[in-house]
Point group: D3
Chain length 140, copies 6
């Protein structure tokens, strides 16, 4: 195992925040900040573990990780705040609005129409904020 | 298999919207409309597949379908917007307020008190809007 | 509130077991028996509370309760042993094999194809044991 | 089985409300009151069954019951209103803010970061209302 | 909307089975066959709707759809039989064993270690059957 | 932040395995070993992160962590293999059989009877293996 992993706790946090900021942008940073007075250790784990140790691994591209994440969050339900962060992240790493709405449409097969609807309406909110509506219709 | 299913995509949509409107009323139509600029294909599937192909099948009466649907949505959790549509739909197809609250009470046994509470408070909102409160008490 | 509810703990258990036996038959009794050496109080609650206090309420017919229960258990997932008991119970209270499979088909819309498949294969096992296969095809 | 359980329905309700009020305080009472016009029987079950029959059992201390409950509600997701009641209850029965946030941090391992975040932000709301922020940092 | 969608029910089924066979291979066909005597209509919907109408849409590549599907099925839990089909499908459409195990590792962040473990052990079974173990270690 | 966290990846793994072995015993070690040929990194995360970084934190006692974990795993459903490990762990860190079954009984209130039953039958299996049946009845 390489020295790249031999970091202090502080270094792991800083590296994780760097990855998190690149992927999630400001909305992700605000999540960590919101934890400062209630559970700074959870903020540390989001940065150092979720992004620094896990997300940054080169075995899967960020775009692919976002497809998996959209699937999980849509399937779990009740994770609308995290879906909002991750639909932003999905755009940031190169998924197109059409690919995102198609991934959520696809999810209807596997976790049902209600959860697909909830996730799609989160995407509508994010796309509206970023001036990406209407999503170009496909003619089928 | 009968010719009744040999429809164009447009015909399937129109038939589905007809069924959806009959069951869900205006609140259901608004769901489909809200998808027009983000995922019209999801709107199509809600109408053509969920209502036209599935709900309209005669093997189970609408009233029975609503009981199943109330069970699923209550058990899944996090589907309050869909519960709102389907509590309206349940009233539209002939379930009484007492039967609906009893179905949600019953669900406490199988998915726990918290989800039963969440669903019951959605019913309270719908019943209030439709002037159906208080639900007549049963004396037991 | 009526005197019908003014029972001792033992009376509540006995009444619940009577209801449970009528609805679930032997498979339900075996669930309670299997708890005798690990959690007799859970067995008591299944009988006295779930069946005696809740299921026996006249506000919803057993057939309707089973439709709600099939919806919940299918939607939750991971409750195949309970689905087996409740598909038996559904037949016992008068739902036909066609209505049961239709209810599970219907659930695909609301909780996705995988959970509908899992529940349908439990129904296949129960129907096979009771000599109810094949379920009469509908010609649509 | 002792005579302590041989109560009328009304006595069971009153005893349950007494336990509920001691554990949950006013927020719990408001849940039962909110059910009066929609499902008084669900209110009865919350008091008489959930608190009177189950929570009051001496086999597990209230503090321990709250740890289990925090785990369940965090894992289920979509139960933020109940988490709010039960984070208040957790403080009422003696869990410290540090123990509560640590329990929710711990939950990230078993049900993932998103649900741990949702629950932690509910704790932040409750702690803010009760003047318990910031939670004292641990130096690790 | 194009004529490509103007098919009879039988044509929709045949087209869906063609797509399903290409993606899922024999294990997928066996799922549809297993439904013949219990719920042929569910088999029809798996083929005609899930694969013919939804999966075959060109807006998202099969490889991307599988990443979403792995995420959903891992997050839902209790869908091990469907995960087995879809880990096979994932290999069929070009995901490598390393990408699949990395997607499941990634899921631990979003739905917790237990569900990631369950899904990874399904992958182990599928990879063993296809002679793909051990998955090449990455040196980090 | 203290130097105690400034470890190499290998040191983090070894420390985590030490904690895991103390809590989970051999059944936990077998989980990590079972991942060696499919996802050694997931095995690393179970040891180094879940046990070394998270479980070992002194802010919550192992006994308390197990109560939270029993709640989460019971509530999620479909995690019977992990419940088996964690019911063993619960005994290892000092919870009594009565406290464990009471925690699972308690869970029926919050996530329903079916999941409480599934978890209780896992406890029955573990207790049988460890010669702990019957659980002493309480006289209420």
């Amino acid at each position: 195992m390489s020295n790249a992993n031999d970091k202090t706790k502080q270094e792991r946090y800083e590296y994780g925040m760097e990855v998190l900021s690149r992927i999630d942008g400001e909305v992700g940073q605000r999540v960590v900040e919101s934890l400062a007075d209630i559970s700074p250790e959870l903020g540390h784990q989001v940065a150092a573990w979720a992004f620094g140790d896990m997300y940054a691994r080169p075995e899967l591209a960020p775009r692919d990780r976002q497809l998996v994440t959209l699937g999980i969050l849509t399937g779990l339900g009740g994770c609308e705040p995290q879906l909002e962060v991750h639909i932003n992240a999905s755009l940031n790493v190169g998924l197109t609005p059409t690919e995102i709405t198609e991934a959520l449409l696809h999810s209807a097969v596997y976790c049902g129409i209600p959860k697909a609807l909830n996730a799609t309406l989160v995407a509508k909110k994010v796309f509206a904020e970023r001036g990406l509506l209407p999503v170009p219709a496909t003619n089928r």
